[in-house]
Symmetry: C2
Subunit: 273 residues, 2 copies
């Protein structure tokens, strides 16, 4: 999917919502009998008109072994077939040496129809560039994450006052461009979002941490929005686990509608729609 | 497995070899008809008396989808059942927020009988500590890797002249100890290995990069060996793909014997055996 297509979807749907399919079998309604795909399908059908992206976090699927992988494949194929406009992100946080990165690229971009993959930067260039060689596919590089441990190393500072997460962005600009690379920037640190926008004014940012983790959508939009929106804001638990009974999909939709409405207002404020 | 047990195995086998089961279906002998487990089993049976650890790199298994995961489970169970003294490392390079890390810990330490898991440090403390809560299980944290991209961020330097990989080790010393944490330190930079030994004189280090990637076993031992050996040196391609025909397992053994002999001499030089 191209950057213009993502922006067109945002304008059409009046939403820059990404729904994180962090499907935890322990939290889905009991009447579904642990059927991960059935849960995902219901959530997707209830929300697809309100969001522009879905992001399964692979840990939730891998932790279920073979049936987890099957559910992941079913989910991704279901989205691709029924909602072809959706941008599908494999939240894999992979990062390994070249030949291994090639293999992961083959799995996520060829065997499965993902549009993008999250990648951890620690191992550097040769762990990232193999993913950039696929037409219309994207790397979403971890820069500043939304968890408490982000403080430990991402704020490691060099003598010029640059933080590691800034160095990650600056260096990676030589590897990719605005059409094949995005960055993960947590919503929990809006001030840093503003610093990041100065380095990458035109890139899309994938923003987790709104909602359950405490980040504010208003703040994220204030510091992060650009002329093509440039934001995919993720929400997972708030939507997936809105209700634990028969009504779960309608409750998920209601919460997604609330977020979409807020996003619509923000897009109007910025004259993007 | 405890640290003393690892050292006892090293003394008994006169080897600190770890064999990387980076099994690439494109490279295994054709008469095996892409049977990953059959290949692994033959390699394991041919080498188990010469090494103290096996390390499947998960990318190679995940890239084969469901049958890859099945082969991984079969392989780990086979080693655990037939060679219970082996230290089994899941080379997963995972690193994700707390609840996700919990899930991975459950998969690799409970569902599958791995002893250790490699973890990427970028997301900090809460992406690492969930793995440390399992008795006699280990985190092997990426510090200085052996690939060319290691230069990109791992050598990011603060105003005190500390590199990021040193900061990773220093900070993580508050999370784990010599009985539940090791570090990945590539063989391709022996000088840095000596700097790392000053910070963690008593920890075990997992050392990739000897052989195919150009690192020297002599140099690694010179700078890295401690009073309990403190090294697991990994070799993958040199052993796995020693021969591409009917004779592949015997050829793998021959190469492993060569490495084991060199290790035996080094252990004797240091008066450890």
């Amino acid at each position: 999917m191209t950057k213009s297509e993502i922006f067109e979807n945002i304008c059409r749907k009046k939403s820059f919502l990404c729904i994180g399919l962090d499907t935890d079998v322990r939290k889905i309604p009991s009447f579904l009998c642990n059927d991960i795909f059935a849960f995902n399908k219901a959530i997707i059908d209830a929300t697809a008109d309100l969001c522009v992206a879905y992001k399964p976090n692979l840990a939730f699927y891998e932790s279920e072994g073979l049936r987890g992988w099957e559910a992941l494949e079913q989910t991704v194929n279901y989205i691709r077939t029924n909602y072809p406009e959706q941008f599908i992100i494999a939240d894999a946080k992979r990062g390994d040496i070249g030949n291994t990165a090639d293999m992961y690229a083959h799995v996520f971009f060829e065997k499965m129809p993902f549009d993008a993959l999250t990648v951890a930067p620690y191992m550097g260039e040769d762990s990232v560039v193999p993913f950039l060689e696929f037409q219309n596919k994207w790397v979403i590089l971890l820069a500043l994450t939304s968890n408490s441990g982000a403080e430990d190393f991402q704020f490691f500072e060099n003598k010029n006052g640059n933080f590691l997460f800034e160095e990650v962005i600056i260096k990676s600009l030589k590897w990719g461009n605005t059409d094949n690379m995005m960055y993960v920037v947590g919503a929990t640190n809006a001030e840093m979002l503003s610093r990041i926008r100065k380095i990458v004014p035109h890139h899309f940012l994938l923003v987790p941490g709104v909602g359950a983790q405490g980040g504010s959508l208003q703040e994220v939009a204030k510091y992060g929005i650009n002329s093509q929106c440039g934001l995919l804001v993720n929400s997972s638990r708030q939507i997936l686990y809105a209700d634990n009974g028969k009504n779960f999909a309608a409750a998920a939709r209601a919460n997604a509608v609330e977020i979409q409405k807020e996003m619509e207002d923000l897009l109007k404020d910025k004259n993007l729609i």
